[in-house]
Structure formats: C-alpha cells, structure tokens
C-alpha cells in the first residue's frame, strides 16, 4: 500500500491504563494500516482493545507509545484543541447507543458538528438536509430522539457523522443495540457510504455477520493484532 493510499496508519502503538495501583496494558505494540475507501471491521473478545484502538484512530485518546497517522497527520502529537478541530473535519463517529442529544430534534442533532465550521445558516441547512436525505430520514427532521425508533436514531447518528463530509467514519458497534432488520439496514447504509461517497469505514463489532460486510476483518486479542482476513 503506497502512502497516498493509506488513510490510517497505526505504528507500534502501546496503550496502558492505570487502575488504582495497577497498570493495565491494553494495546501492546500494535500495527495496522487502512487504505482509503476501505471498509474494515475490528473484532475480538471483550478486553482485546478494539474500542481503545478505535478511540486512538479517532483522536479521542493518545497512545502511551507509538504513532497514529491519519491521512498523513500525526494525530498523536496534537493538542486537545487541535484534535477537536481535526475531528470535526476528518472523522465521523457513530456510537453503539446513538448518543443523540435528547433535547434536540433530528435536524439540530445533525447540525451540531456544522456549528463548529465557518458556514452560513443556509449552507448548514443544505448540508443537514442532504445528510438526512442520504440516510432516508428527510421526513423526520423535527422529531426528537425519543420519537424515533432505534434504527432511525442510528440513521440520525450516521447523518451526524457524515454531515461534515469526513474522509473517515469510525463506528463502535453500530448495530449492537439494533434488531436484525435495523442492523441490516445500517450495514447496508455504511456500505453505500463507502461505495457512493468514497468514505473509509472502520467498525468495531462482535457480530460476525456485520464483520462479514467489511472488505477486511481484523482480529485483536490481548492488545495485539492476531489475524486479518479479507471479507
């Protein structure tokens, strides 16, 4: 894989947490490369470090050692404020439990990341309606999360993730809280985002069916990459 094709590069990353007096090593010298427009699933048993790795790639945490490079930027060297700005422009994050703000409508939830960009109200409106249109919720603009089903909430979550047109979408168990049908629809949607909008997608999942939708399955165990297989 040439440098131009690399979207994510994780180099010899270590991450440890302190729990009281005990130091827990979660990632132990992990290396991973993800190409542009690639759909990768991270799998592994609980405690294997999947979410920790995802957080490092998304710039939500810093490695104890090693380097994380996303689209040529060494994000492990950025300050918290720099990371925040970088995330707005580069990363779309999809949560397992959607994490929509309950007081805001679907429209306002999707608009939230756009407030951080220098856009006019009309530009924001155009982008929000486009994003909600892509996920098929243009008729639910003014519904609050409590008025939407789990699948619809996750679609709003995905619309919020893509509204700033980021290159990389990371999703932490995006189907973990959904029924079979809704999960299938969400996976289809993620696939479409990769195919039609050329997004790079990394998902953490326990679900082999979800993992199988990816181009590549990456298995972690005890903080190390154990296998990688084409989907």
């Amino acid at each position: 894989m040439s440098n131009a094709e690399k979207c994510v590069e994780v180099r010899n990353v270590h991450k440890s947490f302190r729990r009281g007096s005990e130091v827990v090593d979660v990632l132990n010298g992990l290396n991973l490369e993800v190409a542009e427009r690639e759909f990768v699933s991270l799998m592994g048993p609980s405690g294997s470090g999947k979410t920790t790795l995802l957080n490092l790639i998304a710039g939500l945490d810093q490695p104890s050692e090693g380097d994380v490079i996303v689209r040529g930027e060494h994000i492990s060297k950025m300050t918290e404020s720099q990371l925040a700005t970088w995330r707005t422009r580069t990363i779309g994050f999809v949560f397992q439990f959607y994490n929509l703000l309950p007081v805001l409508t679907a429209y306002r939830n999707v608009e939230l990341p756009l407030l951080l960009l220098p856009l006019s109200a009309s530009e924001r409106k155009r982008q929000v309606t486009t994003a909600l249109d892509i996920v098929g919720l243009s008729d639910r603009l003014h519904h609050r999360p409590g008025q939407l089903s789990g699948g619809q909430q996750q679609r709003v979550g995905i619309a919020r993730a893509i509204v700033t047109d980021p290159a990389l979408i990371v999703a932490d168990e995006p189907t973990g809280a959904l029924d079979f049908k809704s999960a299938d629809e969400i996976l289809n949607l993620l696939g479409e985002l990769r195919n039609t909008l050329n997004k790079t997608i990394i998902i953490v999942t326990h679900d082999p069916r979800a993992a199988a939708r990816a181009d590549r399955e990456v298995h972690l165990d005890k903080g190390q990459l154990v296998t990688t297989a084409q989907g």
Partner: protein, 420 residues
C-alpha cells in the same frame, strides 16, 4: 448566536429545575435590590455637594433642637450684620418647627392612624426648599403650589400628604382638630387646603402648617392663660435650612453664624445637610453596616450556592453528552462557555425580571415604606434594572464557573470507558 438554541434547549430540558433556579434568583435579587434601594438613597443624601448646597442650623448641645423663634430672622440672613455689604447671605431659607398631635381627643384612643405630624414653616418654602420638591417642574408641583396659594386665604390651612389623608380618612376641604402632644393644651383647628404631589413619596405622611398661624396660636394661648406664655413658646424653632451658592459661601456663612453673639443662648451649630443627615444616621450605623456588608453578601453567596448546586446536578447528568460533543469536535472551552451561558442566561433574565418587577410594584405603591431618618419611603431607582441583571449574572457566574470547569474537563475516553 448560532449556539443560542443549544443553550435554550438545555435550559428547557428540566423546566422545573430551571424555573426554581430562576425563582430563587428572583427572590434573592428582590431582597438585595430593596436593600440597595435604601442604602443608595442614604448614600446619595450624604454625598457632599459642591454647589447649590443646603446647610442646617440647629441647637448645638441638644437633640431635638429647640431654638427660640427669634433666631429665625437673623439666621435667614446667614448671621450677616444688616449693614455689612461683604457678608455672605443665603440664597433661600426655610425654618422648621415640629407640631406633633393627634386628631383623637381621647388620649387612650390615640394611635398611629390618628397621629398628626406637621412642619411649622413658611408655606411658600415648601416649594422652594423641601428636598426633592425643589427639583420638581412647575407642572409636577402644581398640587402643592395651588395649596400654598390657598393658604394665603386660609390662615389655618394645612397641606397634608396623601397617605396621611388616607389614614385619617379625610379629604381636601375637610376641617380637623388636632390635639397637641409636644405643645400640650394647644389644639389647632385646621382646614385641609391641599396635598403634596405623589412624588417624592417622602412627604406622603407629613403635613405643613403656617408659621404665622402657629405664632398667633401661641399668642392666643398666652392671652387665654393670664398672659403666661406656653412653656414651649421660646423653643419653637427646630432647625433652619439655608440654601448656599457653594462651599465658599457655606464656610463664610458658617463663620458668621458661629461668631455672632445673637446665637449664644442656646448656642447653635451649622452643618451641610449631608453631614447633618450623616450625623442623624449615626444611630443606625451598625445596622446599615450589617445590612450592607453581611446581609447583602450573604444573600448573593446563598444565591450562587443554589445556582452552583443546580448547574452541578445538570453537568453531572450530562457527562455523556459533553463527551459526545467533544467527539464531534467541540473544544473544551466551548463546552465551558455553553454551561456558563446557560447559567448566565437564567441569572441575568431572572435578575432583570426581578428588578423590573420590584421597580414597577414598589414604585407603583409609592415607594418602599422603611422609616429611617427623614425618609418614610424609598423609591426604587431605575438603576435597579442593571443591578438586578448584574447581580443575577454575577451570582450565576460565581455559581456555575466550578461546574462549567468540570464539564470542560470531561475525559471522553473515561466516559466511554469500555475496554473491548
């Protein structure tokens, strides 16, 4: 402004909590606004003026001051010798005596409702020399000037404040008999010729009777008592007010009066009205200090603790949301500002609302009835609006800065701490 909806929606999130926080803010701001209303008025009355100032001449060693009326004429000239062209003279003057009585003849039935307190003075001076009345426009002072004019035809006329009229259940045109208390055995037959303007409210409970009329009543008393004067006849002058051009004129008039042999038995003192009021307020010094430096700060501290508690609960409940916002790209300081903005909005709006309502309601009732010194009532100043908004904002800031900093420092990885 684009974040305003976020602030408003978060305030609406828990309406009960937001309303309760707002109500507590309103109550505390109400208390402090009323306290500041009184303190500001007192402070203002004690500020030394440099020009167009008023001086008060009183008996030097005795409170209440009771000088002979024979002092009045010379004092009205500022103690200046009649043939001295270089002497300083007041621009205006007013003499005050005090007649306290009751409209109830039976001493056993006398009460605050039938109490009658009156300035014995030159009626026309009520327009030119009474504090705050002297600043009214002719239109505003019309009820008073009409009443003063009427007193020229009705020597036993009395001008009575509206509140006192209401308490006595009397109207303009009614006649009353006042039974003297400080002037025993002197009963005055008076005709109500008019009332004071509604503003300033400080004279709403007072009245004015004519000095000439009162002196004639003293003469009548003497004639009806075997030519024996009333025991108080030589003590009818409480104080004399002098209007002076500036500080220099005050110093000169002060020197003239203190050097004059005419005012030695009893001796007199002269001071600016602000100093006089300050001296009068000495009796309340500790209370005023306590109210200013203990009660008002305690109210503000309590308010900031209430706000702190409410915002702390809100921040604790929204840890996950702050983490999500950070994931979306909100910077720590933006989250801090959002939390501060919520508190500041509640505090400022509640404070402004409270002060505004206090201004309208209290002033609509004629002022805050708090009797201290010469002030029966205090009007809430228009400045109270920004006091209220300022107090609300300040206490909201004090109360929310801690919780806002906690929201700012939410660690995303810790909130989503699930090692998988």
């Amino acid at each position: 402004m684009k974040y305003l909806f976020l602030v408003l929606e978060n305030i609406r999130r828990n309406k009960t909590r937001s309303i309760l926080t707002g109500l507590v803010t309103m109550v505390m701001v109400l208390v402090v606004t009323l306290v500041f209303t009184v303190l500001t008025a007192l402070d203002k009355s004690m500020v030394e003026k440099q020009s167009n100032l008023k001086a008060i001449v009183t008996e030097k060693w005795q409170i209440p001051s009771m000088m002979p009326y024979s002092y009045a004429s010379a004092l009205s000239e500022g103690g200046a010798a009649p043939d001295d062209p270089d002497a300083a003279r007041p621009e205006d003057y007013m003499s005050w005596g005090f007649f306290v009585g009751s409209t109830e003849e039976n001493p056993a039935k006398r009460s605050f409702e039938n109490l009658f307190f009156s300035f014995i003075m030159e009626p026309e001076k009520a327009r030119t020399m009474l504090d705050e009345v002297d600043g009214l426009s002719d239109e505003e002072a019309l009820p008073l000037t009409t009443a003063i004019q009427r007193m020229k035809d009705v020597p036993n006329g009395v001008i009575v404040g509206q509140e006192r009229l209401d308490k006595m259940k009397k109207r303009v045109g009614d006649r009353i008999t006042v039974f003297g208390r400080n002037y025993r055995d002197m009963n005055l037959e008076l005709e109500i010729v008019g009332t004071f303007p509604r503003e300033p409210a400080r004279y709403a409970d007072s009245s004015v009777i004519s000095r000439d009329y009162f002196n004639r009543q003293l003469d009548a008393y003497q004639q009806s008592h075997n030519n024996k004067p009333h025991p108080m006849a030589e003590k009818t002058l409480g104080l004399v007010w002098l209007r002076l051009k500036d500080r220099k004129a005050f110093n000169k008039v002060s020197g003239q009066i203190l050097a004059s042999p005419s005012f030695t038995n009893p001796p007199v003192k002269i001071e600016t009205s602000s100093t006089g009021i300050g001296g009068f307020l000495e009796a309340w010094r500790d209370i005023i200090w306590g109210v200013r430096w203990l009660m008002a700060p305690a109210c503000l501290l309590t308010l900031s603790l209430v706000i702190s508690n409410a915002i702390s609960i809100s921040v604790r409940e929204r840890q996950l949301e702050f983490a999500v916002m950070k994931v979306l790209g909100f910077r720590p300081n933006q989250i801090l500002m959002l939390v501060l903005a919520e508190a500041l909005l509640i505090g400022t709006v509640s404070g402004l609302l409270s002060a505004g309502l206090t201004y309208l309601v209290v002033n609509g009732m004629g002022g805050l009835p708090f009797r201290i010194a010469f002030f029966p009532k205090f009007a809430v100043p228009l400045d109270a609006l920004w006091w209220g908004a300022g107090m609300g904002a300040l206490t909201a800031y004090m109360g929310s800065v801690g919780p806002a900093r906690r929201a700012r420092s939410v660690k995303v990885a810790e909130v989503f701490a699930r090692v998988t």
